[in-house]
């Protein structure tokens, strides 16, 4: 095998077999093959998606790193690149897409908006960072990140994959991972995990209004 890093010495290989046999750990060969064939999901949100297309195209060409197969279906993808501003109207779909991706799955938050809201953070329909709902593996700063920055993000993700171990990865555990509850669009975005907090705060607000507003707010 060409990759020297794979071959851990410590086992004596007879000299006549050194050209044909390599000895390594299962973790290493497993991660090595996974990291070099990441299949990103073909999924663009905003401005950053254009830079993602540029990265896939002739000058930068991320198929050099083994990720040329972009799949439009989440069922066939293992890398979600959240490329752009995440809005409240879109987050239920993003969470659903994430839940539909089979393990192993990774998420890259590309650009300032996906990482933390970016220039649009103060906006009323903007989710301040996709990590409020789905776990993110690599954050890439920039608005939009240049293709070089995106490639660096990919390489960082590869390094992260290299460090995983079969013993601890979530998809070989006894209990399957729980799907993330899908947020609901109400008067504003509602996270099902936060219903108690919402109820508590809004009832306090209602009491305050009743006291100060002299029954003006007799809404049922």
């Amino acid at each position: 095998m060409a990759d020297d890093g794979l071959n851990t010495p410590g086992y004596e290989i007879p000299p006549e077999m050194q050209g044909q046999v390599a000895i390594t750990t299962l973790d290493k060969i497993y991660n090595w093959s996974r990291k070099n064939s990441l299949w990103p999901m073909m999924f663009g949100l905003a401005c950053c998606a254009i830079e993602m297309i540029s990265t896939a195209a002739s000058r930068f060409d991320f198929s050099r790193f083994g990720m040329e197969v972009m799949r439009p279906s989440p069922r066939q993808a293992d890398l979600m690149i959240v490329s752009g501003t995440v809005t409240k109207k879109m987050i239920p779909q993003i969470v659903r897409l994430y839940n539909q991706m089979p393990e192993p799955r990774y998420v890259i938050a590309m650009g300032a908006c996906a990482s933390g809201g970016g220039p649009f953070k103060e906006g009323y329909t903007v989710v301040a960072g996709v990590d409020k709902f789905i776990p993110v593996d690599v954050y890439i700063p920039g608005c939009p990140p240049t293709p070089q920055a995106l490639l660096h993000g990919f390489i960082t993700l590869m390094k992260k994959i290299e460090k995983q171990s079969l013993r601890s990865v979530p998809w070989y555990q006894k209990t399957p991972s729980e799907p993330i509850p899908i947020p609901i669009l109400g008067p504003d975005l509602m996270d099902p995990r936060k219903f108690d907090l919402i109820k508590q705060v809004t009832s306090q607000m209602a009491q305050k209004v009743d006291v100060t507003g002299e029954g003006e707010s007799s809404h049922e």
């Binding site: 073909m42 999924f43 663009g44 949100l45 905003a46 401005c47 998606a49 254009i50 830079e51 297309i53 540029s54 896939a56 195209a57 002739s58 000058r59 439009p72 752009g84 501003t85 809005t87 109207k89 879109m90 779909q93 897409l97 809201g117 220039p119 649009f120 953070k121 103060e122 906006g123 009323y124 329909t125 903007v126 989710v127 301040a128 409020k132 608005c143 939009p144 240049t146 609901i184 669009l185 109400g186 008067p187 504003d188 975005l189 509602m190 996270d191 936060k194 219903f195 907090l197 919402i198 109820k199 705060v201 809004t202 009832s203 607000m205 209602a206 305050k208 209004v209 707010s217 809404h219």
Partner: protein, 577 residues
């Protein structure tokens, strides 16, 4: 004031005494009419005075006067300036007759005004929320509506300037998130809004013949590889034929206008980059024009030439990109795109050299541009414009134009007639491919476009193929303008006056429009003399071009819907803003 409208203002006021009143506020132009007379006057404007093109409809919330104003910009497709009509209603119960029956192009814009400002339009065929969702709490662009991360009315915030106190805005919100709910709200009692209203509005055909097939409703998007972003279409299908289609947008609604009204004038410039993120330079141009009109300043000669140069390079870039995408949609996956992106990268190199950023250029300033073009970059542009780009354009033409599959799938598909294109307020390549030679650069010249020799290409079939050909023609004309720019560009300053981070903008309103690569891009800005705009509205060309999508798609096959959408060339950053 009267001459620039093409009709004397007395014509209209004499014809409708006491019903049409010239707008007398300082800095304002146009006429004020009562809502009750609006339909009648619009009818006369369209049928007798030739103002057949309703470009922009938007609302302004005049909170201090307790008034809601709806502003209409009418144009003649034969050219000339705007006729601005305004109507004022009470803020508590704003009800305005809808102009959609007369000008179907107002449909989405009126829906937007309802969604964001809460202005009701009587007799509107489908008045639903468009950018937010059904059930959203409040109308966000009203001046007394506060967003969950509200800090102050206007920037720069006291917490940041002159001294910075860093804190997380999440800590100030009781939910620790960008959300707010009405008092006493119980999330468990909430029944999520289904799309029933939307589905009920879809047309279906009555089938009387004995071959009864079921009509199915198909949702395309928002995550779909061919919708050019997060765009959703609901299609009713009879077999493979499209019976009706409704576009659903707002999946990328990033609150440009609300943020823009908190920003100072100059702070909005980088935000305009992110409207149509493929051609940020054109967006800068439109906004700079609108504010310069208010300020009454003129950029120096060299800056004007640089602006035109950047705008035309952007047009080339956008069209080559959109042709690549169109071929993608036709099934020639990514190979033509690679050719297109190669040229795009070279133009982006130029943008990066002059502005520092590949895509989000933020290059224009009020009264000029941010930086001068170095000689080496000028040489690069010269090589591109004189040698490489024309050659590559011919190559693209040679490969694609007579390709049998391209012709077979594009000719006669997605037809929009000239009359309907005008009625639906289509603009840009969509309008010109339908046989209407309307280009803002010629019809209502801005900057220094009146100095250059160029043609306005027109095509007459109004199908996808003509839109493709028209884009090729326009790229040739852009190169022609660029060649003249490179020949004539003078030396000199690039800014009038000193660069300022805080500009003084006198009170008034202005509408700056440019012929962007995708159509007429307009910025409606209202200033009340403060450092922040009172109203900042973007007339996004692709948002309004989408009004005609349903009409183009009815009767076509489902596979062609994707191509028709590709031929309109939408960018979601601009559609949803």
């Amino acid at each position: 004031m009267s001459e620039q409208f093409g009709i004397r203002s007395s014509d209209l006021t004499e014809r409708f005494p006491e019903r049409v009143i010239p707008d007398s506020r300082t800095g304002y132009s146009g006429f004020v009419v009562k809502p009750g007379n609006l339909i009648e006057i619009a009818q006369v404007l369209r049928d007798e005075l030739g103002y057949d093109y309703l470009s922009s409809v938007t609302g302004v919330d005049y909170l201090p006067e307790n008034k809601m104003e709806v502003v209409y910009h009418f144009y003649r497709t034969t050219g000339g300036g705007a006729l601005v009509i305004k109507t004022q209603v009470d803020r508590e119960n704003p009800l305005v007759p809808s102009l959609t029956p007369l000008f179907p192009g107002a449909e989405f814009q009126e829906r937007e005004a309802w969604d964001l400002l809460g202005i009701r339009f009587e007799n509107h065929p489908d008045l639903r929320r468009i950018l937010t969702w059904e059930g959203f709490y409040g109308h966000p662009l009203r001046k007394d509506w506060k967003e969950p991360f509200f800090e102050e009315e206007a920037k720069p915030y006291k917490s940041r300037w002159p001294e910075g106190h860093v804190y997380r805005i999440e800590d100030k919100n009781p939910f620790h998130d960008n959300v707010q709910y009405p008092p006493g709200f119980d999330p468990e009692q909430w029944s999520p809004e289904t799309d029933e209203l939307l589905y009920a509005g879809l047309k279906r055909v009555d089938k009387s013949d004995d071959f009864l097939t079921e009509q199915v409703v198909v949702n395309l998007g928002p995550q779909h590889p061919s919708t050019h972003g997060v765009f959703r279409m609901v299609v009713v299908l009879d077999g493979e034929t499209v019976v009706d289609l409704k576009p659903i947008m707002g999946y990328l609604h990033r609150n440009h206008e609300k943020i823009g009204e908190r920003n100072t004038f100059l702070q909005n410039m980088p935000f305009t980059d992110r409207l149509d993120y493929v051609c940020s330079m054109s967006n800068n141009f439109g906004y700079a024009l609108a504010v310069e009109k208010l300020m009454g300043i003129q950029p120096p000669e060299r800056a004007e030439y640089i602006r035109v140069m950047m705008a035309e390079l952007t047009r080339f870039l956008n069209h080559i990109f959109s042709i690549g995408f169109l071929l993608n949609d036709l099934g020639a996956f990514f190979t033509p795109m690679l050719y297109a992106l190669e040229e795009r990268e070279l133009i982006l190199d130029v943008f990066e050299a002059v502005s520092g950023s590949r895509m989000m250029c933020n290059y224009f300033r009020f009264g000029g541009v941010a930086r001068d073009i170095p000689d080496e970059v000028m040489e690069k542009i010269r090589k591109l414009v004189l040698d490489r780009l024309p050659r590559k354009l011919d190559e693209m033409d040679y490969f694609i134009t007579n390709n049998e599959i391209v012709r077979g799938r594009c000719e006669g598909v997605g037809v929009l007639t000239a009359e309907r294109a005008i009625a639906l307020s289509a603009s840009g390549p969509v309008l010109r491919a339908s046989g209407v030679p309307y280009d803002v650069r010629r019809a209502d010249p801005y900057s220094i476009y009146d100095r250059f020799e160029f043609d306005i290409p027109v095509r007459y079939n109004g199908d996808i193929y003509d839109r493709y050909l028209l884009r090729l023609d326009e790229m040739r004309q852009s190169l022609r303008i660029l060649q003249q720019v490179l020949k004539d560009i003078p030396e000199g300053p690039i800014m009038s006056g000193k660069p300022q981070y805080q500009v003084r903008v006198p009170a008034g309103e202005s509408y700056g429009r440019v012929e962007g690569p995708k159509g007429e891009l307009g910025f409606y800005v209202v200033s009340n003399g403060k450092p922040n705009p009172w109203r900042y509205h973007v007339r996004a060309p692709t948002f309004i071009n989408l009004t005609s999508l349903a009409e183009m798609c009815r009767g076509q096959k489902i596979a062609d819907v994707v191509t028709i959408l590709g031929s309109i060339d939408i960018v979601l950053g601009e559609v949803d803003r």
